[in-house]
Amino acid sequence: MTREKPLVLIADDEPMVADTLVQIFNEEGFDAVSVSDGDAAVLWARNSRPEVVILDVMMPKLNGVEAAKQIATILPQVHIILFSGQAAAGELVDKTRAEGQQFTILAKPVKPEMLLQLIARMTSR
């Protein structure tokens, strides 16, 4: 399946963060959608097969790290970025690193310029 624009899935329980990111990505040449919990993120990823998934770590139902692990199993080629406003998030990611999975984690607030650069690097590889 080839798409005109790369699909970006954003999961954050903070609507203001999710919505502004959707708008930024849409304006920067992506096709972006947002969900507000981990379960929804896995469901959307399975159905819409995005190129990039951006997940908040602390989310209701399924947390971002668990969601990332499931999505990585369904879509081995997907680029996953985690971000969080909390220090404890680092520990969760440490755990997944010990389990052999490597995710990129960023601290909120993330500058959109930086996020775009990172995704450009990831998708160009």
Binding site: E14, M16, V17, T20, L21, Q23, I24, E27, M58, F83, S84, G85, Q86, A87, A88, G90, E91, D94, I105, L106, A107, K108, P109, V110, K111, P112, E113
Partner: protein, 547 residues
């Protein structure tokens, strides 16, 4: 026949024998005479001796005995039911009377007495009538003839069994007592306990041991006269409680109090004092008590409370971080979107840029203070000067507010080191905060210097030396030795006592080293912390991280 001549009174024995002629008539009388003075005298002596012996036996309770001049033969012994009698001369007295283990001693004393013709005197064990062992004090004097030769030994032996037992028992209990008091002293020293006795009427210490003086931070020669000498060493906050407890003790209550003393180096020691008042004729006469160092226990309790607090603070800051960082993220995105508007006036655009810059500052402070120091737990290569610059900017408000001048001297050092950024920040924010606190009371200067360098103890190791120097109050030598200990703080309730300890443990992990030089007033004072951060083998750190 006694005869008195020129040589004194002598006794002669005359023997006359009739000489009968062949016819049966006495022709003559043949006579011999010999001097029997000696023989008669010694016979008399013996008789006298026996007489004396009988007198003694009847008048004394002691065992009385007579021995031959060389002690081989016992001539007589009256045992007074203490030991068996010897009526007729006997050569087997040694085994009969003397306890085998003491025989050698007895013989040695006898030989010495014979040699010197002086009194035999010895305390030894004897076999008693009933076959048990007894103790005797035996004395014997030599009876000399006119030539000065020993003709006999005359002895008396007292039964000292009871006295000896009492003495032994006393010695035993003395020994036990001494042992007990030694054990007590060892226990007191080992448990950091000191003791005292105090007279409440005169307010004088009758006794105050070295342990207690040490606990109060004084040397053994220090004088403690009255309770005031104790009270003035107590922590000011604990003086009222101390006075109240002493007062209660005066009226009969047991004294029991945990209180602090302030040592010369400003550190605080916790003591637990217990004392009991002794009463005489209805009046308090003496307070006897002890104090124990409970600083460790107190610190452990404090540490537990602090770690509770830290955990609470941690939970709070995690919540705070979430609550602050999410709106920051939203605002950051909103500013980005606003900036995309091509219709913006140049002024609005510059306002938005300023807003962005200020937002960056807020984000940085939030990150620093609310603990997203784990943003990157993997070690990375970073530029020391840049990180130090960023760190100083975090404290710029505090520096400015306290009127502290900061002098950044990074030379042209663009050295990259390898490590976890958060840990590096932790190390130097501790040193910076300490420096700021040290210069707080005067217009201070802090100098931060970064230079490519080599390790002092091993010049083959290359790395970076980071120096944080202040012109603050300095650290006295007695404090300097403790600054890297956990829970040691001079900042009272403001400090956790963990900063420098943590600093050093982080540095250890990187094979980095820290040195401190300090000088206290009068005159110029200040402190210099110097950290050497080595260039490091990347693989080595990663292995350590995994471990």
């Amino acid at each position: 026949v006694p005869f008195t001549g020129t040589s004194g009174r002598r006794i002669y024995e005359y023997i006359f024998v009739p000489v009968v002629g062949p016819n049966g008539e006495v022709e003559a009388v043949a006579g011999t005479t010999r001097d029997v003075t000696e023989r008669t005298q010694s016979e008399e002596a013996l008789r006298e001796s026996e007489e004396r012996f009988r007198v003694f036996v009847s008048t004394t309770s002691e065992v009385i005995y007579r021995m031959s001049p060389d002690w081989t033969e016992m001539r007589q012994l009256r045992g007074k039911d203490f030991i068996a009698d010897t009526e007729d001369p006997s050569r087997g007295w040694l085994n009969k009377y003397i306890y085998p283990e003491d025989q050698a001693n007895v013989m040695a004393a006898i030989h010495e007495a014979i040699r010197t013709k002086s009194m035999f005197r010895l305390e030894h064990r004897v076999l008693r009538v009933d076959g048990t062992l007894g103790w005797t004090l035996s004395r014997a004097i030599p009876i000399l003839n006119s030539e000065g030769d020993i003709v006999e030994w005359f002895g008396a032996a007292a039964d000292v069994t009871e006295r000896k037992r009492a003495h032994e028992a006393l010695r035993g209990s003395e020994l036990a007592l001494r042992r007990q008091s030694e054990q007590l002293a060892a226990a007191l020293a080992a448990s950091d306990t000191g003791t005292f006795r105090w007279n409440p009427e005169t307010d004088e210490f009758h006794e105050l041991d070295e342990n207690l003086k040490r606990l109060f931070g004084r040397d053994p020669a220090a004088e403690f006269k009255t309770m005031v000498d104790i009270i003035k060493l107590a922590h000011p906050d604990d003086v009222p409680a101390l006075l109240a407890a002493i007062d209660a003790g005066r009226s009969g209550a047991d004294f029991s109090l945990e209180f602090r003393v302030v040592l010369d180096d400003g550190s605080v020691r916790w003591l637990y004092g217990r004392a009991k008042m002794e009463w005489e004729n209805g009046r308090p006469s003496c307070m006897v008590g002890a104090c124990t160092d409970i600083t460790r226990r107190k610190l452990a309790e404090d540490a537990a409370i602090r770690s509770e607090k830290l955990a609470a603070v941690g939970r709070l800051s995690a919540t705070m971080a979430h609550e602050i960082n999410n709106p920051l993220a939203a605002v950051t995105n909103l500013l980005y979107l606003s900036n995309r508007d091509t219709a913006l006036s140049p002024q609005t655009r510059s306002f938005l840029q300023m807003a962005g810059k200020e937002l960056d500052r807020v984000a940085l402070v939030a990150r620093q203070t609310l603990g997203f120091s784990r943003e990157n737990t993997a070690p990375t290569l970073f530029n020391i000067s840049e990180v130090m610059d960023e760190l100083i900017s975090v404290y710029s408000y505090r520096l400015c507010h306290r009127n502290v001048e900061i002098d950044k001297d990074f030379g042209d050092c663009a050295a990259q080191v390898f490590g976890v950024l958060g840990e590096f920040r932790q190390v130097f924010s501790n040193l910076l905060v300490n420096a700021i606190d040290a210069v707080a009371d005067k217009s201070g200067r802090i100098r931060v210097r970064v230079r490519a360098s080599r390790e002092l103890s091993n010049s083959r190791r290359a790395g970076v030396r980071i120096t944080v120097a202040d012109n603050g109050c300095g650290i006295p030598g007695s404090v300097k030795v403790k600054i890297f200990e956990p829970f040691f703080t001079t900042k009272q309730e403001h400090g956790t006592g963990l900063g420098l300890w943590l600093t050093r443990s982080i540095l250890h992990k990187y094979g980095a080293s820290i040195r401190v030089r300090s000088r206290v007033g009068p005159g110029p004072s200040g402190t210099v912390f110097s950290v050497f951060w080595p260039e490091i083998n990347v693989d080595q750190v990663q292995r350590q991280e995994i471990a």
